[in-house]
């Protein structure tokens, strides 16, 4: 009887506390209050942005001169812009664009960076030299100037337009740092004996790279991706503010901010630019706190 109950307890214990590196990191992250609060706020912002077509139904493509530049009221919670469009609706729809640009850029950059970094670090030799020289080349290009120039050249000749073109251009110019980082981590990690042990049981190089090496460098990739996500949202806002990013026809946080270039709006009609500005700041702060939290969670030496 007694042994049965004790084994029962053992099984329950096992289900509760898995010791996989992922489970340990998740538990550490959940205990990090700042990171968890940031995570909840970010999730709310993302949900609102994703649900924008359902929550905010007023037509953002229609210009209504009669309702132009109204301060916040019961009808328009955050007022209206110069074209008479509801700012609350715009800020939600704009969030969709801004977050999507940030997210897709991050996905593309990390995909390219991780693959090339793994190849360069694992194989070494001429492949490493070749990839790293391209990285050097990409990294020395001045980012804003080249995004503006490339966007200008491609916008006339490309099949994809607008937002997707911007995503492709930003990604094409930003993968250098990620590649370098993944490569350096791979270089350190592949010296461990378990990589040789994996070879000694007859695994192919491809399998060693993606099955044995990748899970051991993925933590740094995740942390880096989080911080990159914040950076890319800023990049979108900055480019659009300057007038070279998302086309004017699409609402985005950067587009809304750019209206503040007029001093009348900047001084007297603050409801037009404060909501996107606050959202950008809060989103980026949250993402950065989450990134720090993840960094701690994946670090076996931190007890936080």
């Amino acid at each position: 009887m007694k042994t049965e109950t004790s084994s029962q307890i053992d099984i329950n214990m096992k289900n509760k506390t898995s010791h996989s590196p992922w489970a340990i990191a998740r538990r550490k992250f959940m205990k990090n209050k700042v990171a968890m609060i940031s995570f909840v706020i970010l999730m709310i912002i993302i949900t609102l942005a994703l649900l924008a077509p359902i929550i905010a139904t007023s037509d953002i493509t229609k210009i209504n001169v009669l309702e132009a530049s109204q301060p916040p009221s019961a009808d328009h919670w955050l007022g209206t812009d110069k074209g008479g469009r509801d700012v609350f609706t715009l800020v939600l729809h704009g969030g969709r664009t801004s977050l999507m640009v940030g997210f897709m850029c991050t996905v593309f950059i990390m995909l390219i960076g991780t693959t090339l970094g793994l190849l360069a670090g694992f194989y070494g030799g001429w492949l490493d030299t070749f990839i790293m020289r391209i990285v050097d080349f990409v990294l020395i290009l001045p980012f804003y100037v080249f995004v503006i120039a490339l966007n200008g050249i491609l916008v006339k000749n490309s099949v994809v337009g607008g937002v997707w073109l911007l995503i492709i251009v930003i990604s094409a110019l930003s993968w250098g740092g990620a590649t370098r980082m993944v490569r350096s981590k791979v270089l350190a990690e592949k010296e461990n004996e378990y990589i040789m042990a994996a070879k000694s049981i007859g695994n192919s190089s491809f399998k060693i790279m993606f099955k044995h090496l990748l899970p051991n460098v993925i933590s740094i990739v995740i942390v880096q991706a989080t911080l990159l996500f914040a950076g890319m949202i800023v990049a979108e806002a900055g480019l659009t503010f300057l007038g070279f990013g998302v086309p004017q026809s699409e609402p985005s946080w950067g587009n809304m901010l750019s209206s503040a270039r007029q001093s009348d709006i900047l001084q007297n009609k603050v409801w037009m630019w404060i909501p996107p500005a606050v959202l950008i700041s809060v989103t980026i702060l949250c993402i950065n706190f989450i990134g720090e939290g993840l960094k701690d969670a994946f670090n076996p030496k931190s007890s936080k």
């Binding site: 070494g124 040789m196 042990a197 000694s200 049981i201 007859g202 695994n203 899970p215």
Partner: protein
């Protein structure tokens, strides 16, 4: 019995193996014209100080040398009659882990931290046989049991960081023997473990070797381990074999000054010793290796002037008072050249 007539044919034959590294566009031999063979069901010990080329040799046999840095320059390695040093990586992957496997020195880093130990044993089984995941898991539990791990059905789902060093080394052994290889290369398998655990692991390896009719190449610098485990011993110094014989002859009648010095530097329980014998100096580095003459000359207490000019070769010697000719005793030293 069938195993009897196979016994004569060596499982591994290394002929004139030269492995080295290219440093500043010059090639340096870390293993210099080494030849030996391993018979089925035997344990061959390779002893020598750090930097003698023991590990480089084992990596050459497994074809695991770091690409672009180390390479086999000369010689052949015959495994089970096939010349494996000419195989490409894919062909080698079919042998590695199946017919020939390796135990590493450092159990702390030789297991992948992100996978459960069960997964890592299953991987070997799945790589080399058509086995379902479920069967592989059951088999890995059996394997864990056979290497003496308590509660194997629990441990199979645990991660390496939850196990002690001795347990991890047992897991490494379980991985290495999963496919019942014909040859197991153990590169200082007990160096990182404390003495009691060391004894258990050696015992385990010997049991497994006898049960599965394996051959083992045991690389170590512990003569105690050699005396305990091995049938034959190869003493290496600076990339060359200096003495090769069976284990009894080596301990009772060591010939090469290096072997003698090594044996003298082991503490003995039955003799009161004030100071322990030492060999002063270190193994010359690859770049400072003497071009001719004996490589041990600078540290040898019996060196003659001709030792610096004449390079000794590995030759059979006669053991005095030993009537049994079948035991081979090879020494590479000028002192025994005239005899």
């Amino acid at each position: 019995m069938k195993t009897q007539d196979v016994t004569e044919k060596p499982i591994l034959e290394v002929n004139n193996l030269e492995t080295g590294f290219t440093i500043d566009n010059k090639f340096y031999n870390a293993v210099d014209k080494v030849s030996f063979s391993v018979k089925p069901n035997k344990i061959v010990g390779i002893v020598g100080e750090s930097g003698c080329g023991k590990s480089v040799m084992s990596l050459s046999i497994m074809n695991l040398l770091p690409k672009g840095i180390g390479e086999i320059a000369n010689g052949t390695i015959l495994f089970d009659g096939n010349e494996i040093n000419k195989l490409n990586n894919n062909e080698m992957n079919k042998i590695r882990g199946k017919d020939m496997s390796m135990i590493f020195q450092e159990p702390m880093t030789a297991l992948n931290p992100v996978f459960t130990v069960g997964y890592q044993i299953m991987e070997t089984l799945i790589n080399h046989s058509d086995i379902s995941k479920k069967d592989a898991k059951l088999k890995s539990i059996d394997l864990l049991k056979s290497v003496g791990i308590p509660r194997p059905e629990k441990i199979v789902d645990e991660y390496p960081h939850q196990l002690s060093g001795g347990m991890r080394q047992r897991v490494m052994i379980a991985i290495a023997i999963a496919c019942k290889p014909k040859l197991l290369i153990a590169d200082e398998p007990t160096t990182a473990l404390d003495v009691t655990v060391q004894a258990q692991i050696l015992e385990l390896m010997k049991t497994i070797q006898q049960e599965n009719n394996m051959s083992i190449i045991l690389i170590t610098h512990d003569l105690g381990v050699v005396a305990e485990m091995c049938d034959e011993v190869i003493v290496m110094y600076a990339g060359k074999i200096v003495e090769k014989t069976d284990v009894d002859t080596l301990f009772h009648n060591p010939k090469h000054p290096y072997t003698k010095a090594l044996i003298q530097s082991v503490p003995k329980l039955d003799v009161i010793q004030e100071t322990l014998g030492t060999i002063s100096g270190i193994v010359p580095s690859l770049k400072n290796m003497p071009e001719q003459g004996c490589r041990f000359v600078d540290r040898c207490s019996m060196a003659k002037s001709e030792c610096r000019t004449k390079t000794p070769t590995l030759k059979p010697t006669v053991d005095l008072g030993q009537a049994d000719d079948s035991k081979e005793h090879l020494v590479s030293c000028l002192l025994y050249d005239e005899a």
